[in-house]
């Protein structure tokens, strides 16, 4: 039975394999996209595809989070910093043939902003729009003529321009949204270098080059995203050549990729941080000496070597070094158990104390093995006499409890959104974020830091902002609300013949310059 079946199958399969093929790049990944409406999605696997279909008013530089023109060729800011006027590129069309203009931009952002917009009500809401605080930043949107788009703000806000470069602010075809309604998420229409062809759930998403693209056209005919959940199979397909690119590689395959002349490895420090927060509302973590002692007790380099196979950077600041405004002058708390013990004794705990160390129950991009990290930190703390019991909850419960401050110490992390330091420091450490349910789970309330972060928020001068953020990092270093642990590295691997792909700090995956070179 099996042998004749085998013969038939192999013969049939052989028939088709000699066909002329398009230049197609198959990109393997761990799971499928959730949806392709940039306003609705929140996960990386969805944005990876959206990155290539959609465009925004302004875009990131291909290698940094500096802001460049895209659908707007230029913009002016009023003297009071409240009115931003964007001059739009002409001759840009959506993939469905309709014209991109200021009305379309008004529709794309307006559906998320205006509560009475006919397309405002969606299940779950426009989450990124809300998370980035756009409702509090914007006052009004306007399209005075076809090529002018105006955004008025409630108060000056510098990080706002970086928000406009994010996927959720992309231009979507109003015609397509009206046509597909709630099913737009699987019929996406943008202005980008690739257009959508088909999506077979959990199987593949196929994009084709947009031949009417306004800028330099993509070099690939087809771009296919293929979800393969098993890391071993993903890697096997890359080695066999049925997949030409992968991201988020398992550390165990890194050496093999380096040794294989047919493959190339790309790495870059990721825009994320994994940290240990100490709840300053609870004793003994209200004592600065205790928090510093814990900082000296944790051997971060050992965490990087043992649980990330070197694919991470030991952290000394809450923001990663890929972000502008990073303060490299800060020395960080060196691993020094003796100093830690001395600090504890000084704080009145010569024999240490008992506490709890909370750990996430699920792997996160910034911390793939949280339970093992927790055990390592527990062992480090035991060396200075701090006896920490590891506590785990189901993921939703965990987040709920830590945001309500039930933990003494908890592991958590953050992946940056818009490439602005504000998106780390204000969101995670400002006193306004320490209100329950809090994102500032150290419950760190510094008036001094708040002033600096607010000043950095309203300034439009990038150099001045950069200085303010460096100052903010010094304040945080001094007060030590966290043990900043690691910044996980982002990785990708391609076949030797693939060129022109660059990793981006935001994790975006743009394929418009990617090509096969013989």
């Amino acid at each position: 039975m099996i042998i004749p079946f085998l013969l038939i199958v192999l013969t049939l399969a052989a028939c088709g394999s000699e066909k002329q093929q398009l230049t197609t790049l198959v990109f393997g990944r761990g799971s499928d996209s959730v949806g392709l409406d940039p306003g609705l999605e929140t996960d990386g696997e969805s944005f990876k595809v959206c990155d290539n279909i959609y465009e925004t008013l302004v875009a990131y530089h291909s290698e940094s989070t500096a802001i460049l023109p895209q659908l707007a060729h230029s913009w002016d800011v009023s003297a009071d910093q409240l009115t931003w006027t964007f001059h739009l590129r002409r001759g840009v069309h959506f993939h469905d043939g309709t014209v991109f203009n200021a009305e379309a931009m008004l529709f794309s952002l307006g559906r998320q902003f205006y509560k009475d917009h006919p397309h405002h009500k969606v299940e779950g809401g426009y989450r990124y729009w809300k998370d980035m605080g756009m409702d509090d930043i914007l006052a009004e949107l306007a399209a005075p003529d076809d090529s002018t788009f105006v955004i008025r703000l409630k108060k000056p806000n510098a990080p706002f321009l970086s928000n406009l470069a994010m996927n959720f602010c992309a231009a979507v075809s109003p015609t397509a949204i009206k046509k597909y309604g709630r099913d737009y998420f699987k019929n996406p229409v943008g202005t980008g270098p690739f257009r959508f062809i088909e999506w077979r759930k959990d199987e593949r998403i196929v994009l084709a080059r947009n031949d009417n693209y306004w800028g330099p056209k993509a070099k690939l005919d087809r771009l296919i995203f293929k979800p393969i959940q098993e890391a071993a199979i993903r890697f096997l397909e890359l080695s066999q050549g049925t997949v030409q690119g992968l991201d988020n590689l398992n550390p165990e395959y890194i050496d093999e990729i380096r040794d294989n002349p047919e493959l190339q490895l790309l790495t870059q420090p990721g825009m994320n941080v994994g940290y240990l927060a100490m709840n300053m509302d609870k004793a003994p973590f209200d004592d600065l000496r205790v928090r510093r002692a814990i900082n000296h007790a944790v051997n971060k380099q050992a965490l990087v070597d043992n649980f990330y196979q070197g694919l991470a950077l030991a952290a000394k600041n809450p923001i990663p070094p890929t972000l502008w405004g990073y303060n490299d002058k800060i020395t960080g708390y060196a691993y020094d158990p003796n100093k830690a013990r001395a600090l504890l004794a000084e704080a009145g705990f010569p024999d240490g104390f008992e506490t709890e160390l909370w750990a996430m129950p699920v792997p996160r991009p910034y911390m793939p093995q949280p339970d093992k990290i927790a055990q390592a930190v527990q062992a480090d703390l035991a060396k200075i006499g701090v006896r920490a019991r590891i506590v785990q909850w189901e993921w939703g419960t965990y987040l709920d409890k830590v945001s309500n401050g039930e933990h003494p110490m908890a592991l958590l992390g953050w992946t940056g959104d818009n490439g602005d330091p504000d998106n780390f420091l204000y969101v995670l450490l400002d006193k306004t974020a320490a209100v329950k349910p809090a994102q500032n789970i150290a419950f760190y309330k510094s008036e001094e830091l708040h002033k600096v972060l607010v000043a950095a928020r309203i300034s439009a001068d990038r150099d001045q902002r950069s200085k303010l953020y460096q100052q903010a990092q010094e304040i945080i270093f001094h007060d030590a609300p966290w043990v900043p642990l690691v910044h996980a590295t982002q990785t990708a691997a391609f076949h030797r013949g693939v060129s022109g792909f660059k990793l981006h700090p935001t994790g975006s995956k743009w394929f418009h310059s990617t090509a096969f070179t013989p």
């Binding site: 049939l12 197609t24 779950g124 077979r200 759930k201 593949r204 987040l399």
Partner: protein
């Protein structure tokens, strides 16, 4: 006979009602707020409240159950929280993948399993019997993930004859109509696609079919041996019939009843339990989808998915009952 089938169908209704209530209750009681899981690190008071409200999670139990139940009666399972898609659409697109895989593996399992079982029974105590039963025991004891990886290593890497993931090569395009790809390809007379689909089907089907194959072989052997010892078989031998006639005409039909139970049960299990195989071979079926839904606390998808699998399982059992009645007139209960 018809009344028997009808009665069995009617008894499905309370079973499925009970299942739907239990599924709903379990998901309601399970810890972990779906809104919190979805929002992750980004959750704040406002976004949590809004998400809970749009998902109807802020309503009391009886209101939530009423909504679910009335939706169910009108055939509307709602939209998945995780993927924005209609649950019915999700199931209609993925179930065919699982069904096709199950059919292929059961086909392999039955053909090989029944033949091996008969062969072993007829050659009882000889090398052939021993060999096939050793293989069958090995087949039952093998963990599926290990078998899958070994088959991939053997037939995908050392002897690269078969693709190791997916349902279709990336260069093949055709319009899915029913999402039963083999059927769709044939309907469009696309034989290149048809070959490619079978080629992709082989390894996962073999993986999934191995355990049922072994179970069926052992069951067939055991029940055939029992039947071969009965009086009427001795009579058949005494009449001077050939071995072929005795075994295939007289013994196999009676020996087949217990085997059929096993086949029906395995079929039901495979339709719902192929998560590991589907995950390893990146097979876009219903098992993997359900697994992801559970992880994301996508309660609507889980309710719909579990209800579907329960229905399929119950139907497979019903089919087995009907087949018994057909094979063995003594089982037609209504005549008692």
């Amino acid at each position: 006979m018809y009344r028997f089938v009808l009665n069995r169908f009617i008894s499905l209704v309370p079973t499925l009602l009970g299942i739907s209530f239990l599924v709903f209750l379990m998901l309601y009681l399970v810890p972990g707020d779906p809104a919190q899981v979805m929002l992750g690190e980004r959750a704040n008071a406002e976004s949590l409240a809004e998400l809970r409200a749009t998902m109807g999670l802020d309503q009391p139990f009886h209101v939530q159950f009423y909504r679910f139940f009335t939706g169910l009666l009108s055939g509307d399972l709602g939209r998945s929280i995780r993927t924005h898609e209609k649950i019915t659409t999700e199931i209609l697109q993925r179930f065919p993948a699982t069904f096709e895989l199950t059919m292929a593996s059961m086909l392999m399992a039955m053909t090989v399993g029944i033949s091996a079982g008969i062969w072993a029974a007829v050659r009882r105590g000889k090398i052939a019997d021993l060999l096939s039963m050793v293989l069958a025991t090995a087949g039952i004891s093998m963990p599926v993930f290990w078998l899958a990886l070994m088959l991939i290593l053997l037939l995908g890497v050392f002897l690269p004859l078969f693709p190791v993931s997916g349902r279709l090569s990336t260069h093949i395009y055709f319009e899915p109509i029913t999402y039963f790809y083999t059927l769709d390809a044939l309907l469009q007379s696309d034989f290149e696609a048809f070959g490619d689909i079978l080629w992709h089907l082989f390894l996962p089907a073999l993986t999934l079919g191995t355990i049922p194959m072994a179970v069926i072989a052992r069951m067939t052997r055991a029940s055939l041996l029992e039947v071969l010892g009965e009086d009427y078989i001795r009579t058949a031998w005494a009449k001077g019939l050939s071995q072929r006639m005795v075994v295939l005409r007289h013994a196999v039909k009676n020996a087949f009843i217990p085997t059929l139970t096993v086949i029906a049960l395995e079929f039901g299990y495979l339709l719902g339990g192929a998560i590991i195989t589907e995950t390893i071979f990146a097979w876009p079926g219903v098992g993997r989808w359900l697994f992801l839904a559970v992880q994301a606390r996508d309660f609507r998808a889980v309710q719909g998915g579990v209800l579907l699998l329960a229905t399929v399982f119950v139907l497979a059992n019903l089919l087995a009952d009907v087949l018994y009645a057909w094979l063995d007139p003594r089982i037609r209960y209504d005549k008692k």
